[in-house]
Assembly symmetry: C2
Homo-oligomer: 356 residues x 2
């Protein structure tokens, strides 16, 4: 059977004041009246049966996630006692679903991106699942075809072609400089590393066992007793002992049979308010409105965001981001949005942890 695991663990301080410790980015309703998590789940329509869709998130968010995705079995929602990075999140999920379905094919998805159009996403995932099933020891990563020289993403260089849009991975590359990103774009042989994967559960467990044997042991123990352990102090202690490691660094970059399947989609990481603004068309003056209602007088290049259609009227102010939430509003120069994450700690200390 094919299973999907949505990773929904991040906290997203860069989208303050909408995202908070208690209400992470994946739960924000900025698009189509749905949360990013709901959109991630909707993208899987027709690819996976609801009983085979899993979500791994912080134990703190489990109730909110259950409310957002009422069609998923509660037992498919995995609450981590603490974040120990993606290798451990994926490893725990792989253990749990392999125990239920030893021959499972497993695809891994993120919950904080906008990916369009749906048809191309579906086709690429379908191709990746088929590759993982026909080459059962391989690990498939999905590579986004770049149309601009982004410096904020990791890249994958493709190697030998195995089928239409399916290649061996020649090399993983760190975030490049601008000049290097332009060279990657020109060459046509590079993809953005999307953080989405497909493999047999057995294959990823084998590679974790080979490359991260201590983590593999801890994860196997947790998986064996998860029904009893979830939410307990014992689980917290076992988690704490797991070495933090990402799936890219810990497994993918060192694994034997890694493939890349091309996904030619508009793929946007919502890592900052500038990125959120980039998902929407601007008006003739370059003003962008997301989830809010905007009125602009003698202004250019502003971004207005809320979840509740709050009206923001801007007069004579340009290149400013305004984000409204019920108890706090951010007014930030557009080129300073990267500072938001640094300010959140300051706000917590000066105004109380509820704002964090």
């Amino acid at each position: 059977m094919r299973h999907a695991v949505i990773m929904a663990g991040g906290s997203g301080t860069r989208l303050w004041p909408l995202s908070r410790k208690r209400r992470p980015k994946q739960l924000l309703r900025l698009f189509e009246g749905a949360s990013l998590l709901q959109l991630a789940r909707r993208r899987l329509e027709g690819l996976f049966a609801p009983e085979n869709i899993w979500v791994i998130t912080s134990a703190n968010y489990i109730d909110q996630v259950a409310a957002e995705l009422p069609d998923l079995p509660r037992g498919n929602l995995i609450g981590e006692p603490m974040g120990r990075d993606t290798a451990n999140a994926i490893g725990l999920a792989a253990n749990l679903l392999a125990r239920r379905d030893p021959d499972a094919t497993m695809a891994v998805f993120t919950a904080d991106h906008i990916i369009r159009p749906q048809e191309r996403f579906t086709a690429a995932i379908q191709a990746g699942l088929e590759a993982a099933e026909s080459l059962p020891e391989s690990l498939v990563t999905f590579g986004i075809k770049p149309h601009s020289p982004q410096t904020g993403y990791g890249y994958i260089r493709r190697g030998a072609v195995l089928g239409p849009g399916t290649y061996r991975v020649a090399e993983f590359k760190e975030k490049p400089t601008r000049a290097v990103a332009e060279a990657y774009l020109r060459s046509g042989a590079y993809y953005w590393n999307s953080g989405m994967f497909a493999w047999r559960a057995r294959a990823i467990l084998a590679e974790i066992g080979r490359l991260l044997p201590e983590n593999a042991r801890g994860l196997a123990e947790l998986g064996a007793d998860w029904a009893q352990l979830a939410g307990t102090e014992a689980a917290r202690q076992q988690f704490e002992r797991l070495r933090r490691v990402s799936i890219d660094f810990g497994v993918m970059e060192r694994a034997a049979r890694v493939l890349v399947v091309e996904m030619d989609c508009d793929w946007q990481d919502l890592g900052s308010w500038a990125a959120v603004a980039a998902t929407r068309p601007a008006d003739a003056d370059g003003n962008v409105v997301v989830g809010a209602s905007g009125l602009f007088v003698q202004t250019q290049g502003n971004v207005v965001v809320s979840e509740d259609q709050h009206l923001v009227v801007m007069i004579g102010v340009s290149d400013v981001v305004v984000v409204h939430s019920g108890d706090a509003t951010l007014v930030c120069r557009r080129d300073a949005v990267e500072q938001v994450k640094d300010v959140v700690g300051l706000i917590s200390r000066s105004h109380g942890a509820a704002y964090e």
Copy 2:
């Protein structure tokens, strides 16, 4: 007996989005947790008994005013069917209180100013009431002693001295140019026209009768039947026939015996967000917070206003006014706040009358 009439009829579109058609400026809680109307009433403590304090306002606001000032008799709240300017508001109030108390002394107050300190205010009002009682045909106006060359107010030139701080009025002056305002300030013989007055009810009714005889007849008819008329279509029609005219233009500038009593107070007309900001001390970077909670990072000269301690975080944005209300937020360049009143009509058309 001494009576006070608080004029609370304005709508204050310049303080949008806090002030609305349904919630005028006088009801905003920006200072000391009280509305401007409550502060106006508190200033009268010790000067007038509650049963002798009257409020004249729009009929639309009567219930809100009653809730704000529960110690005043409901019969003292006069609801005008529509605004017909200050001569008619004052004339109606004078008719009503003269019918209850023919020898009444009457003082008239505004509800949209900050006036400090209380002791000087009380002393000046006391002096004005005494002048109105000892010279029973005179009309007393209160003149604010200027300490800066304001161009936004009307001025009064004083004439012969009648007692300590009490003078005949030599002349009323329109809003001056900057150079003229500076000359007024140097001369020491000019006061700001405060819009506050004291007189015998009989004296102001006589002058309205002499100078505005048609208005006087209409107002006398309304006053005679007010208990029956208030809130009716008949009252609305009678009001509509009253010629619009201000007390300054219609009466004070043409009346015979006009005095000015000096009030040496900090007197601030809250006519714009810039004026509201001027009532509060700024921090070391020139940022001002009124009724809100502010956090400023790399910013200067901002103003943050709300009624509910809403947190506003500003990063890298300077000289901007942010005003937060439940359903709308204004973000306006500080030197453009005079445009707010012009934008309110636009907002109403584009986003619905509830925002007006």
